[in-house]
């Protein structure tokens, strides 16, 4: 029962992410500040072109001669000459001349296939309250969000985004990213330009392809994949790579050529329950649920493939009719190491009830590539996840029948990834073809065991350990800041089982869905 609730929670979250999390963010604040179009930095917002990547790398600034491009001068928070007085003056900085605010709203329309309510077959109680009802069609309000970003001078960049409302409800979206980034601090150590930057705050891990700022209507499945063990395992790790992380990151290099790396130390919280304590009240609260801090690392190298060496090193390649993104091949790898924590009621050697803690190390390792040739971008990600599985050790003959510790069991693991091809037919039209794949034996087994009192959502019960999703799509820019997107999800095959058994009640079916989104930023 507990396992089903966990599974339901995880997959319901996944569904919400799919429906609402097509996070697309372009930055109108930059458009206003520099007097330039979204398409200076974006191919099909929020997908960055090479210049946008360089702009981001530089700390939300033009990589060269930034001052000459700013149409609205920043407000100085101290004359530059104050640097001479330091430490007897505050180091002079600046704030953008206009509030660097961007707003975003999106709206969806969804059509779901006729078998969407098949899981009601599991309800043999006759209680209508247990039945789900998913409408065939639905208009769905998405996100209304604010985001602010810019540069405070001295190469200190900032970003904060927050959802005012999600699905029409008030302020339950919460904070997305919120961080300060000290760009190119390696200059103090005589390191090459942009070799070292520091970031503090809450941020999306430096994923090869940003889920938080994905241009797709639905996120990539593998980035939202938790590792919830089957009932024979004692693994309950809700961590997913797309989760926001709180911590510190050092990074360097460039996204538009050469090497790029990121190393981060972030909070550990795989259970979803924040730490708390009355005797040591926190200033604002605790996010971690253990002492351990997780580690994330990523390294990538991008080969620009133009024949002309001078063109290869530029931010954008010089095409016959104008600058364009490079023809390139980027290869990368990522590694995440954490330690999932579960606490249980146990007993000590004297049969006294105590709290015992299972600390289960886990890792995610992956590789990625991205190949770009003119208007075609083909890219993919592979990811493997493994969680150590510590089974409760309950000695026989003790009166409490509570575990005294843990014994290693077979690890819980999953794998998968995605391949995607984006083709820019016109500057305002992009076609997309995606293949998402997740291989998780636990997800399969958890789906089998659904019972008549706890089956509450569709998309729960894959027909095998492998879930494949094919997602063609097309997106149109009505203006540079208004986009309409269409996506058809050929979803994984699933099957409905009789409650508590492995007897199937249906033939394998796919609950496909078509989604249209309308989004604008301003």
């Amino acid at each position: 029962m507990l396992m089903h609730r966990r599974m339901f929670a995880a997959l319901y979250s996944l569904l919400l992410v799919v429906l609402l999390g097509g996070s697309s963010q372009a930055i109108p604040a930059f458009s206003r500040q520099y007097g330039t179009s979204c398409s200076t930095c974006h191919v099909d917002f929020p997908k960055l072109n090479d210049f946008g990547k360089a702009f981001k790398d530089a700390g939300f600034k033009f990589p060269k001669d930034d001052e000459s491009f700013i149409k609205i001068p920043p407000v100085l928070l101290g004359a530059p000459a104050n640097k001479e007085l330091f430490p007897h003056s505050i180091w002079p900085g600046s704030i953008p001349g206009v509030p660097p605010i961007g707003l975003r709203y999106n709206h969806f329309f969804q059509v779901v296939s006729a078998n969407r309510n098949n899981f009601n077959l599991q309800n043999t109680t006759g209680d209508p309250a247990l039945n789900q009802f998913i409408p065939r069609t639905d208009f769905q309000t998405g996100l209304f969000s604010i985001f602010t970003a810019g540069n405070f001078g001295s190469d200190i960049a900032f970003w904060v985004d927050d959802d005012f409302s999600v699905g029409g409800a008030n302020s339950n979206g919460g904070l997305g990213d919120g961080y300060l980034k000290f760009v190119n601090v390696g200059r103090f150590l005589k390191l090459p330009t942009d070799a070292l930057s520091l970031r503090f705050g809450q941020f999306e891990l430096d994923l090869p392809f940003s889920q938080a700022r994905s241009w797709n209507l639905s996120g990539w499945d593998i980035y939202d994949q938790p590792n919830i063990g089957s009932s024979s395992k004692n693994v309950n790790n809700a961590f997913a790579l797309a989760n926001a992380a709180q911590g510190v990151e050092i990074s360097g290099g460039h996204q538009y050529r050469g090497y790029h790396y990121s190393l981060a130390i972030v909070n550990q919280n795989t259970g979803g329950t924040p730490g708390s304590g009355g005797n040591v009240p926190a200033v604002v609260g605790y996010t971690s649920d253990s002492n351990f801090k997780d580690l994330y690392g990523r390294f990538s190298y991008r080969f620009n493939l133009e024949r002309d060496p001078a063109s290869r090193s530029e931010i954008q390649a010089a095409g016959a009719t104008g600058p364009r993104d490079h023809t390139y091949l980027s290869l990368g790898t990522l590694y995440f190491y954490g330690r999932s924590v579960q606490r249980f009621q146990g007993q000590d050697a004297s049969n006294t009830p105590v709290v015992i803690t299972a600390r289960e190390p886990f890792y995610r390792v992956g590789g990625d590539f991205s190949f770009n040739y003119h208007a075609l971008n083909f890219f993919g990600q592979f990811l493997y996840g493994r969680d150590q599985n510590l089974l409760p050790l309950v000695p026989t003959g003790t009166p409490l029948q509570l575990p005294i510790g843990f014994t290693p069991g077979s690890a819980a693991h999953f794998s998968g990834g995605f391949l995607e091809a984006d083709y820019l037919v016109y500057p305002w039209m992009m076609t997309i073809m995606r293949w998402d794949r997740v291989n998780s034996a636990a997800d399969f087994l958890n789906g089998i065991g659904a019972d008549q009192n706890s089956f509450a959502a569709p998309f729960l019960s894959p027909v095998s350990t492998v879930r494949n999703r094919i997602t063609p799509g097309i997106q149109f820019l009505i203006h540079a800041n208004i986009k309409t997107s269409f996506e058809y999800q050929i979803r994984p095959k699933q099957v409905v089982y009789a409650p508590g058994t492995s007897t199937t009640l249906t033939s394998p079916f796919r609950t496909n869905s078509a989604v249209a989104g309308l989004e604008f930023v301003y």
Binding site: G35, S39, F51, G322
Partner: protein
């Protein structure tokens, strides 16, 4: 003998000067700079000027925003920005067959193009779609741009009857006949 030629030339020049007038007036209905020029004069050609006007791409803008040249003029395009730029136009005088793309060049370098066809040339950059500039290629050397009040003045126009055209980037162009005999007046009210 040479003195006779010299006197004849001077007299001719004085006669021409005496027969050259001024067209002045006001362009209303629009804000910002307009261009007014004498349209094609049948049977008359004018030598192309040797000067190369310069259009700079600086701060993600074409500077100047509007350049007026005579047919046959070569215009130089400079990139002063540290970002890549491109210059292209989709038509000349509305003729889409005259579309042209000058390509890309780095900071500090120039490219040139000779404009042999009259009409307005909308300049664009395919990297920064907000960038806009105009070249108005006038078929005669008789042209002027308006000041802030919309007033213009074209000097040294030989006496005669011509078609006078007013152009503004956000309005429909307008032509009207004008007879020049000394100082002449011609006002325009442009509409979008």
């Amino acid at each position: 003998m040479s003195r006779i030629y010299l006197v004849a030339i001077l007299v001719s020049a004085m006669c021409l000067a005496a027969n050259a007038g001024t067209i002045s007036g006001k362009v209303s209905g629009v804000s910002g700079e307009s261009v007014v020029y004498v349209d094609v004069i049948q049977g008359k050609t004018f030598p192309a000027p040797g000067d190369h006007p310069l259009i700079d791409q600086k701060g993600l803008m074409f500077t100047p925003h509007i350049t007026v040249v005579q047919v046959g003029t070569t215009v130089d395009f400079l990139n002063s920005d540290s970002v890549a730029h491109n210059v292209f136009w989709t038509s000349v005088g509305g003729n889409k067959k005259l579309t042209h793309n000058l390509g890309t060049w780095p900071k500090g370098e120039k490219r040139s193009f000779k404009f042999d066809n009259p009409g307005a040339v909308p300049l664009l950059c395919n990297v920064h779609p907000e960038m806009a500039g105009y070249i108005v290629v006038a078929p005669t050397p008789y042209f002027a741009t308006t000041d802030k009040s919309g007033a213009y003045k074209i000097e040294n126009v030989p006496d005669g009857s011509y078609a006078l055209t007013a152009w503004h980037e956000g309005a429909k162009g307008q032509s009207k006949p004008v007879t020049v005999a000394g100082d002449s007046k011609a006002d325009f009210t442009l509409t979008k």
